[in-house]
Each structure stands twice: as C-alpha cells, then as structure tokens.
C-alpha cells in the first residue's frame, strides 16, 4: 500500500507541475464558468415566450354538446402555433408515468360526466365543472404550463357563456401536485455548475489520463517501472488516485468560485449532488482508460481524446439543452454517458431537462463504466505491456 501511495504522490507531483495540466485542469474551468455565467446568466429568466409545453390529455368520456367547445379549445391550443403539444392517453396512470419521467409537462384529465355537468351548469346553474390538471411542483415548465392552461380554461368559460345564450358556466381546473418538491426558480449560475464541473472532470479523464499513460509508455518511463517490484494493479491504482486528487483540487476551486463569487450554495453542497460528481469521475476515468487502450501512439490518443471530449461536452448537454436536436444527431446525445451524468446532477438540483427517468440516468453510465473497464482490461496488456 505504501508503495502505491509513494508512486501516486510522485506521479501527482510531476503532473501537477506541468503548466498544461495546471491550466486545463484548474484555471480553464474557472474561466469558462465566469464566461458562461457572464454571457448567459442574464439571458435566462422567467421569460417563457416561444416555449411549447407538452400536455397529456386523458378523456374519461367523449365530449358532446357544449362540452365540444372544450374539444375545440384543446385542438386550437395544440395546433402548430399554439402553446401546447398534446398527446392523448388511454388512462390517467399511463399519462402520469410520462409526466413523472419528464415526457409531459402537465396532464389534463377530462373526467367522466363533464359534458353533462357543463350542460347542467349552463341550464340549471348547478355550479362549477372541474377538470383535473396534474403537474410537477418545483419544475418550472410544469408549473408555468399549469398556469397557462388555467388562463385558457377561463376563456373557455366565456365561450360557453356566449354560445349558451348568456348563462354563466364555471369550468375550473383542479390542480393536482405530482411531486412534492418545492417551487424552484431557474438560476443559470446554478444550472451551469454541473456542466462546468463535468467539463473539468472530462478534461482530466479524457486528456490527462490517456495522454499521460501513453506518454509514459512511449518515453520509456513505464519500461523502467516494469523492472521494479511495482505491480500492474498498483500502477493503475496510483494512476487512478492521481486523477481523483487532480479532479478534487479542481472541483474545490470551482466550488469556492461558485460559493464566494456567484453565491451558489444549497444544491451544490447537497451530498447527493456531490455523490453524482464522484460517480461522474469514476465513469469518465474508465472511459479515458478505454481510449488509452485503443492507442499505441501519442498522436492517436490525442486525436481520439480531443474528438470524444468535444462530442461529450457539446452533445452531452453540458452547457445547453440537447434533446430538441434532430434525430440525425440526437441518437449521439442518447449514446453519450455525459448526457446522463449532467442530467443526473441537475435532477438532484431540482431541474429536469431530459425526458429520461432516474433509473436510466444511473444505469446507462454504469453500463458505460463496465464496458470501458472490460475493453481496457482486454486491451491493456497489448497496449501498455512492454512486449
């Protein structure tokens, strides 16, 4: 054990003193955080113009008579220029599953007997007619969609009144909370934090790690180490520990900047959020090792590392949402582990951008880790071995 720590400490000292490592691992993430927050921080607020909400419709009966006005309104609001994109569901349960998984922003349930109640209310003034709206509290898009729908239903009342010859009908929406999370305003400085943190983790895992491994092999440092009693497992454990140290230092600097410069506190200090970052470290390091195991030359590993780094950063949704991209490249979004890792961190913070359940956010990176590790173990002797 002491042999491994001694090796780790030497490895860490040697790399940390290199300007490139210092810059890309510690300084650049802070610069990027500053730039992104300065440029985009004021662009995102409560302005929801131009945004389409997704509404799931559950009809417990087919509307008729005056109730058909409601049908017409639903068609209008979900037309091409309307504020909603609708999807019809056969049951409330089915719709609620999609709501919870982020595939819908709200679910509108038209209960059985709605047509009769509207007619009765119009003729006999029997009181209000209630429609059920399920939304997720704490999720901005869901809350806003629920409010927008309530406003529209008020317009429905006026239309029924007009068509029924002046009688007043009070169709209301009865809001049902699906998640108990507290209402949370969008904060870009907070939103971008996991993106920058993951970018920093990626730069260590996809650059420092594979390039370092191949450089030591090509320069002959590894050859010298192979003549000592250092075991391969100790070598890689030392390498792994060095990467974790580097990432932890970099994360600490990023945390200090977020806390003391941008006053971002609560969610990033949540232990669950910190665990998602540690999880990201393990996943990306295994990915980096796999890249190293494919490359015998320094030039190959640099090209491979750089390409995957850019893909994972921009198509992984580190800086902006990516689930609206055309399917031609959206499949890549779904294939990359960073998509799930950054969404997982943001989900823990209370945001939800990807239509992916928590289960997949955890499982896909685990599958990547297992796959990368297996590939690395198979290839490592071929690439890292001396002969």
């Amino acid at each position: 054990m002491s042999r491994m720590w001694n090796f780790t400490s030497g490895l860490f000292k040697s790399e940390i003193r290199e300007f490139q490592v210092m810059f890309w691992s510690f300084i650049f993430p802070l610069i990027l955080y500053f730039i992104l927050t300065s440029v985009f921080g004021s662009l995102y607020g409560d302005d929801t113009q131009g945004i389409s909400f997704r509404v799931g419709i559950v009809r417990e009966e087919s509307l008729s008579g005056l109730g058909m006005i409601l049908d017409k309104v639903i068609e209008d609001i979900s037309s091409e220029n309307g504020p909603f994109v609708k999807k019809e569901y056969g049951s409330v349960d089915e719709a609620l599953i999609d709501l919870k998984e982020g595939k819908q922003d709200i679910v509108l349930v038209i209960p059985e007997g709605t047509s009769a109640k509207i007619a009765s209310a119009a003729v006999l003034q029997t009181g209000e007619v209630a429609l059920r709206v399920h939304y997720i509290s704490g999720k901005d898009s869901s809350s806003i969609a629920s409010n927008v729908l309530s406003e529209i239903i008020d317009e429905v009342n006026l239309e029924i009144r007009r068509q029924s010859g002046g009688e007043y009908v009070d169709v209301v929406t009865e809001a049902k909370t699906v998640s108990a999370r507290e209402e949370k305003p969008f904060d870009y400085r907070e939103y971008i934090f996991p993106g920058v943190a993951l970018m920093m983790i990626l730069s260590v895992a996809l650059f420092n790690s594979p390039i370092g491994l191949i450089q030591y092999r090509v320069s002959g440092v590894n050859k010298k180490l192979y003549t000592t009693p250092l075991k391969p497992l100790e070598y890689f454990a030392g390498h792994f520990a060095k990467l974790i140290f580097t990432m932890l230092i970099s994360l600490t600097l990023l945390y200090l900047t977020a806390i003391f410069v941008y006053n971002v506190r609560g969610p990033i200090l949540d232990i669950r959020f910190i665990l998602t970052l540690l999880f990201s470290m393990v996943v990306t390091i295994s990915f980096g090792l796999m890249i190293a195991s494919f490359s015998k030359k320094l030039s190959t590993v640099t090209v491979l590392g750089q390409t995957l780094y850019q893909l994972m950063m921009f198509l992984g949704g580190l800086y902006f949402p990516v689930f609206h991209l055309p399917w031609g490249i959206r499949w890549l979004v779904y294939a990359l582990p960073t998509t799930y890792l950054v969404e997982l961190s943001r989900r823990v913070m209370g945001y939800q951008f990807a239509p992916v359940s928590l289960f997949w956010l955890i499982l896909v990176p685990i599958i990547w880790t297992a796959f990368s590790t297996v590939i690395f173990v198979i290839n490592f002797k071929k690439v890292m071995g001396y002969e």
């Binding site: 320069s219 050859k223 010298k224 000592t228």
Partner: protein
Amino acid sequence: MPRNVVEVKDLKKYYGETKAVDGIEFDLREGEVLAILGPNGAGKTTTVEMLEGLRKPDHGTIEYFEERLPPSSDRVKEEIGVQLQSSSFFEYLSVKETLDLFRGLYRKSIPSKDLIREVSLQDKEKTYTKNLSGGQLQRLAVAVALVNDPRVVFLDEPTTGLDPQARRMLWETISALKNGGKTIILTTHYMEEAERLADRIMIMDQGKIIARGTLLELIDSIDVENIVTFSVQGDTPIPEGFLEVEGLQHTENREYSVTTRDVERTLGRLFEISKEFDMLLDDVTIRKPNLEDVFITLTGKKLRD
C-alpha cells in the same frame, strides 16, 4: 570460486524470421563485471531485457541465485537494479524526488543523499529531470539502478551518446561499484569501456555468442601478435592487386590494417606493392592487438557497423 548469481541456458528469442537471440548459454558470477559486446542488432539488449524480466524468452531458462528464481519473481525484482539504454523519468520531479519515488518501490533502499553523492549530482539535487543534460541523466539512471542496493546491476550502454568527459565520469562511478563488490552486466559499443571495466567479455553477433573470456584470453584466441595500420594517400581507386595482400583488412575510408606475426616481412611486402601500384602509404603504425581487433577478426566488421 565465486557462486553463480545468474545461469542462462539455451536462451532463444525470435521475431518472425529474425533470430534476435539464438540459443545462448552463459553464467554470471558473484562480484564480477561481465561485458556483452556486439554491433547493433547483435541481440545484446534483447538478452539483457530477458534477464531483467522485460521480455519473455521463446525458449530456454534464466535462473537467479541459489533458489533458481525466474526473472519475473518479486524476489529477483527486489534484488536487481536496471539502467536502461535510454533513460526517461518523470520530467517534473527533481533528482532527489525521482530517487525518493524509486526508493519507495523497494523493501530496502539506500538514502537518496548517498546515491546523489555517489554519482556526483549534488549540485543538481533540486533540478527537474527534464533540465538535466544527457550525461547527468545517465548518472541519475545509474543512481536509480542502485536505489535498492541490488546484488545484480544491469547497465545497458550507459555511456552511449556522452561526451568523453561525461563518459570518464561514469566509468569512475561504475569502477566504484565494481570495487564495492556489485555483480554487473554491462552492454556496450565501446571497446575501451569493456577493456577498462570488465572481468569477462562476451561477444555477440547475430544472436549468438561468438567468443567469451577475459580480455587476454580473447586477444590470445585470435593468434595475432602485431597489427600494422596505414592509410593510402590520394583519391585514385585502390588497385585490385593491392587488396590481395595476405591478412589485409579495410577499416574505414582509405585506412587498412594487416595482422601479422612477422612485422618486418609484412612491412617490406606493403612498401613493395605500393611502389608497384604507384601508391603512397601514410600514418603507418605498428601496435599490439586489442579488443577491436578481436572483434574484427571474429566478425569481419567493426563494432559500430
């Protein structure tokens, strides 16, 4: 009689059709310096790397110490020290930090300060290895090979590429090791290095051992008493008839040597022929044979060819 610390039997290593090492056998005695000589591609480094556990032999055995341990065993790795042909270290560690790192990899070790003194790098103790000169790097490599106070030290062309002063400095270090009783395997291109440092010399060519013994034994084995060397003036082509002189060997450019037991007769014949072909001989010298001559006689080529 000193004990054997390494025994090598019928060692073979092939790369496709190339026989890098082709069935060699030798042993290494406690406290001796064995020099392995040979031109590029002779199989010296492959042999040494198999002994160091870096390459696996295709055939044959390598056994260390009384316990007959293979090179891959932990015990052997603890007891050998290796200086590789090209020395690379972590660039941003100082000389002392590098030694400390390697010391930490072994169960027993020598204090870094002592090693630094031994290889005369005191003034570079805090210098990063990337800022060391070639000679300083080689001396550091020797120090690193000694961190575990090894029983067997491998020095693979330790002075290649060094200037004469750096080379002499390293020879002094190796001599000190030899005097300290270390068992050393030294591969080299330099005859002078082998003559000066080795107790026994092994000459390899094309994967085989073509001669072995002490320096005197090797020189005696070629049955030559004197060497006459000379150069031919001018730039006209050397006539075919001149090249038929008995024992004549081309060394380089317009330089030649003739091995002989009868110096007077050989000199007479040379001047006679040069007159016949209208050639002027220059720098004519007579000397006793050395290791280079042994090598040329055995392989027909110069060591650095």
